[in-house]
């Protein structure tokens, strides 16, 4: 750990942002993403593959509306009004209606002064940049230990809206990129276009999923030692396969515990072990790593945009409480 810190601080020529400025920028990014009206094309790139979507985000008072049309592969549209999310599959005429668990804003939000994020990351200003025709300020959020990845962020100068985010491996390689290829900021809000589309479900088979709130404790699990820098922010019980036909053997409900370090999050899925479904292993997709292993008569799937070693720490720490 010391060695890692020494290496990190040895990188000369950094323009480490003072805490107040760093907080200010993060707050602006957050406010812009949640409160501005914008519309654009978002491109996700990972492992040499890409996928793009038309996205629109509207805000009126405390109400948030979002629409996304995924442009690659099967036609699908995601509509969101606050915590209610509807995913439409026009080809198969299925509508998946979800009431998503609202996550309480992480206390690392600048106003509280409880800066967990800045305990884990240093923010470095990397000067001006340009994304999707907008002038941007470029920042590097550099982790202070090896349990998480760095992120490079491009924030629009005027509004602070995040135009691009790269997740970087420890050797500096870009693992994945999320970026606008074009975006209009400050568009006229059209919440009706979202709300009416959410109501127009004639001819759709409607599938609902409602996660239930629970806790690791209630489910009989505990982390015997915490993983450095991660805090549990939510725990729910849910079905992973609400779209399954009745004829298919449906995966039982899983417990999903979510841990956050203020920037990224890790999900631990716990469920009864099923020999025909579960095989131990590991996988990675862009920056997202997955680790699967048995836990006695249960099965753990740990997923997060963190190094595999971090997921293994979670796996090693999780134990049956009763």
């Amino acid at each position: 750990m010391l060695l890692w810190c020494a290496l990190a601080s040895a990188q000369a020529g950094d323009k480490l942002l003072p805490g107040a400025q760093a907080r200010d920028w993060l707050m602006r990014m957050h406010a812009a993403a949640t409160q501005r009206n914008y519309q654009g094309t978002l491109v996700l790139t990972a492992d040499g593959t890409m996928s793009s979507s038309r996205v629109a985000h509207f805000c009126e008072g405390s109400q948030t509306y979002e629409r996304a049309d995924v442009l690659d592969g099967q036609v699908r549209r995601v509509l969101r009004h606050n915590d209610r999310v509807v995913t439409l599959w026009p080809d198969s005429k299925v509508a998946h209606v979800e009431q998503r668990e609202p996550i309480r804003p992480f206390p690392a939000l600048p106003s509280t002064g409880d800066d967990e994020l800045f305990d884990r990351y240093d923010m470095v200003a990397e000067g001006p940049g340009r994304v999707a025709g907008h002038d941007a300020a470029v920042f590097l959020l550099r982790p202070r230990d090896a349990s998480r990845f760095a992120q490079r962020l491009w924030a629009e100068q005027a509004s602070g809206l995040l135009l691009r985010a790269d997740v970087l491996a420890q050797d500096g390689r870009v693992l994945e990129t999320t970026a606008f290829s074009d975006v209009a900021i400050g568009v006229k809000p059209q919440p009706d276009s979202v709300v009416s589309a959410m109501k127009k479900l004639d001819g759709y088979r409607i599938v609902k999923s409602l996660p239930q709130r629970t806790s690791l404790d209630v489910e009989g699990w505990r982390l015997k030692n915490p993983v450095a820098g991660f805090r549990q922010v939510s725990c729910i019980k849910r079905s992973l396969d609400p779209l399954a036909d009745d004829t298919r053997s449906v995966a039982a409900e899983v417990v999903q515990a979510i841990f956050s370090d203020g920037l990224t999050h890790v999900s631990l899925f716990i469920e009864p072990y099923q020999a025909e479904r579960h095989r131990p292993g590991a996988a990675m997709i862009g920056a997202t790593h997955t680790w699967m292993q048995p836990l006695g008569s249960h099965w753990l799937t740990a997923i997060g945009d963190v190094p595999m070693a971090t997921l293994k720490q979670f796996a090693a720490a999780l134990e049956r409480a009763r």
Partner: protein, 221 residues
Amino acid sequence: MNDEDSMNEPNAAAPSRWRAQLSALMDGDRHAADEACRAWAGDASARADWHTYHVIGEVLRSEDAACSAASDARFLVRLRERLAAEPVVLAPEVSRLPVRARRAWMAPAAVAAGFVAVAGVLLATRLATPQESRDAVPALARNPGVEAPATALAGLRPLPAPASTMATDPGGAASRDGAMLIRDPELDRYLAAHRQYANASPLVIPGGVVRSATVVAAPGR
């Protein structure tokens, strides 16, 4: 083809006939395909003619293309050797389940084939390359606090060809597993569920709802 004789005894067809068919196929006549392919497969002189026709066509366009049929064959042999020497990227483990159980597991996979195309856009699961395995070691070495024995990295190593027959006991120790899970539609469900919570972070990436949508499984019908 509706020529009964050539159906039953492909190579008995007169060379002049299959030459005509090869020529027609080159010109894009799909009706000539059956007979021409049979002739190509069954008769070395037909293959030589096929090659010659192409060489004639190529040379008419560029003289660089002039080469013998044997060099094509040598190229193919070299290609096969190189392919055989490549490490196997996809290494499905051998299932120890009885056939019926295996089929039950395969069925959802088949149903899910429709959404592999969807999710696959972003989710072409890849194995760590040897490069990355090497990278991971110094990364861990830098952090003595992390209890990640080198053996745990075994899971990140691409498997050599013979390892495709390696069976992993589903209940066995994960630390010694050699198999990677690849493009498993089951995994997409977990991934989608995980990504719904992108707003757990104060750093809201615009269009976060999209990110989870890219892995949402399409209903299988």
